[in-house]
């Protein structure tokens, strides 16, 4: 994708093309943003962010530090309310929604700085993710009314099944806070999956992992996509991971999309190279 076309994108009133175009021909996109932007006291942290993610697409969001990647995630999950533009999840406008409602619409996420419920067990963390999949009220819980035991057992089994994706069922009773770093990241993914999302946002899932773990993570992300039939969008600095599994990549710099395309297109894009490495023809002092 050339820089010229990027300018075109900005001019089109409602751009609705996925990074991987063929994906949004037959299905409603899981996520669609139109002119999404947010200002913090005059500073435009994200500006004119247009992106469409098709069902079962794995998309990457990359860019130098401070480019606004996590801010985009916070906008999509409604931690921040955008100052301009809209976010559509499964075709529904999320204007005025909060994080909880966005999750119920189908967006689940992990966090760059892990946010587990550290004092609780691994299984309880997943059970909290299953919160909206289980339906019994406070009084049923307190007075152990009919349905309590049945639903608790179902929840227990479902939690173990989800943990088995990463082979973590043995750790079900371990305190989440005492898990090794990599396992904590995996547990966060399981917890997000438990909310039954249609789009999973992963904020630096491979951070702190060794190459072996990263490779396993790549396989697991693809496995999750295939098994749950969901779309995945990830922020990552590990280029092996991004180039290895992302079908479409979106590059962000200074809050703006500077390029979109497949791994090969991105790798050869001069604008991207400039953003990461600086201008080629800089005069040496």
């Amino acid at each position: 994708m050339s820089p010229k076309r990027m300018v075109d994108t900005k001019m089109v009133p409602v751009p609705s093309h996925s990074i991987v175009p063929e994906r949004d021909l037959n299905k409603t996109p899981v996520l669609e943003t139109r002119h999404l932007g947010i200002e913090f006291g005059g500073l435009k942290a994200v500006e004119d962010f247009n992106l469409t993610i098709g069902k079962t697409e794995i998309a990457g969001l990359i860019g130098p530090n401070g480019a606004g990647k996590t801010t985009v995630f916070n906008l999509l999950t409604k931690v921040y309310q955008p100052t301009t533009g809209t976010v559509l999840v499964n075709g529904k406008d999320t204007a005025g929604m909060n994080t909880m409602q966005a999750n119920r619409l189908g967006i689940a996420r992990t966090f760059q700085n892990i946010r587990l419920f550290g004092n609780m067990t691994v299984e309880d963390n997943v059970r909290i993710g299953l919160h909206n999949q289980v339906r019994y009220g406070m009084l049923t819980g307190i007075f152990r009314l009919p349905g309590y035991w049945k639903q608790e057992r179902a929840q227990h089994e479902q939690a173990l099944r989800l943990l088995s994706i990463f082979g973590m069922e043995d750790m079900a009773e371990v305190k989440a806070g005492s898990l090794p770093y990599g396992a904590q990241r995996r547990l966060e993914i399981v917890r997000a999956l438990a909310t039954h999302p249609s789009l999973l946002l992963l904020d630096e899932p491979a951070a702190g992992m060794n190459p072996h773990e990263t490779e396993e993570l790549m396989r697991n992300i693809i496995k999750i996509r295939d098994e749950f039939q969901i779309a995945v969008m990830l922020i990552e600095h590990d280029m092996n991971l991004v180039m290895g599994i992302c079908e479409g990549i979106c590059v962000l710099n200074y809050g703006r999309i500077i390029a979109k395309g497949t791994a090969e297109e991105i790798q050869q894009n001069p604008v991207v190279i400039e953003a990461y490495l600086g201008k080629q023809k800089e005069d040496a002092p």
Binding site: M100, M120, H131, G141, I142, H156
Partner: protein
């Protein structure tokens, strides 16, 4: 489901401690080995245990520091004593056990409503701000009750605010408080209320709602991100806690012939908070033990007469220091490695 059974065992121990303590007390009473002063403390002990456990729901499980817990207790005490008198006058309900139960239900409901009303503004705040606002609301409740006049005219209740000129016999007389209370609280009912409170709190913790409450405490942003209605669950914990405090208040009020609003001052809230902190924040069993020991302690320390409260304070400081001392925990570890490990595991599970 090994974990579930482990929690169940831990809960059974808590119930067991309460039941054994009750049986021991009953045996002592039967044999006439219990002093009069201590016998008089039995119902207050039950009341403070319920107060501590219910406050632990707000402070430990939900993670909001509340300094106005005595306010809910006073609402329960006033509502409960009035309900008891009214039930006797209107329905000739002579059965004291049923009347006490109904009075506690009314006290709990009234405090629950107060909890909702106060929770709406308070739970918008966090941390220190929340603590200070709950403190203020506790004082507001006390001052409102000081201006309240209620009279019983046959079977009808008349309510006056800053106006003592009501038909019939004045029951609630402003700053003088509720007078002429039929003392129907018993130790057995106090024991039953403790079991009920433990049942509610321990079961709540091990349910979908309880996990949502603890998730909100541990990490609000993560809780929201998995679709938990944070405000709803904060409110739930706050209201259940207030309602239980109201029930304790009703039991407390019906243990004396008069109850004044000034009995439920700020220091009562702090006293209950001391029980919670000493017993371990989030540790229900600890609250039960701490509330019992610290309520009996002033009685036991009567031997020190004038220096009673000084010794009480020193004991408090020593207990706090010793339980947090690494040297002591190392010593325990050396002599009872198994005990220590188990205690640590339990600590992790309870928190």
């Amino acid at each position: 489901m090994r974990k579930a059974s482990k929690t169940a065992v831990s809960n059974l121990i808590t119930y067991g401690i309460v039941v054994v303590a009750y049986i021991v007390c009953q045996v002592l009473i039967e044999n006439g080995q219990m002093t009069r002063a201590l016998k008089g403390q039995l119902v207050p002990i039950c009341v403070y245990v319920v107060m501590a456990v219910s406050l632990n729901l707000t402070v430990g499980i939900s993670g909001e520091l509340s300094l106005g817990h005595a306010g809910f207790m006073s609402v329960g005490a006033f509502a409960g004593t009035i309900a008891s008198a009214w039930l006797l006058a209107a329905f000739q309900l002579e059965n004291e056990v049923i009347r006490l139960i109904l009075a506690m239900v009314v006290g709990g409901a009234a405090a629950g409503v107060a909890g909702v009303l106060i929770g709406i503004p308070v739970l918008r705040l966090r941390g220190d701000y929340l603590a200070i606002v709950t403190l203020a609301f506790g004082e507001i409740i006390r001052n409102v009750l000081n201006c309240l006049y209620i009279s019983l005219d046959g079977a009808r209740l008349h309510l006056g605010f800053l106006n003592p000129n009501l038909p019939g016999e004045l029951m609630v007389n402003g700053p003088i408080g509720v007078t002429g209370i039929d003392k129907i609280s018993t130790f057995a009912m106090g024991f039953a209320l403790i079991l009920f409170t433990l049942f509610v709190v321990l079961n709540l913790v091990n349910s979908r709602a309880g996990r949502a409450i603890m998730a909100t405490r541990d990490n609000r942003i993560a809780a929201e991100s998995v679709g938990i209605q944070v405000t709803k669950y904060k409110m739930m914990a706050f209201v259940v806690s207030a309602a239980l405090a109201g029930m304790a208040g009703a039991l407390y009020g019906l243990n004396f012939s008069t109850v004044t609003a000034s009995k439920f001052k700020f220091d009562t809230s702090i006293l209950v908070l001391v029980f919670v902190v000493l017993g371990g924040i989030g540790n229900i069993r600890g609250s039960v033990i701490a509330a019992t020991v610290l309520t009996i302690l002033p009685e036991v320390l009567r031997a020190f007469s004038d220096y009673r409260m000084l010794v009480y304070a020193i004991v408090l400081i020593l207990v706090m220091l010793l339980t947090n001392s690494p040297i002591l925990s190392n010593l325990v570890n050396r002599f009872y490695p198994r005990l220590h490990r188990r205690a640590r595991e339990k600590g992790g599970e309870a928190a």
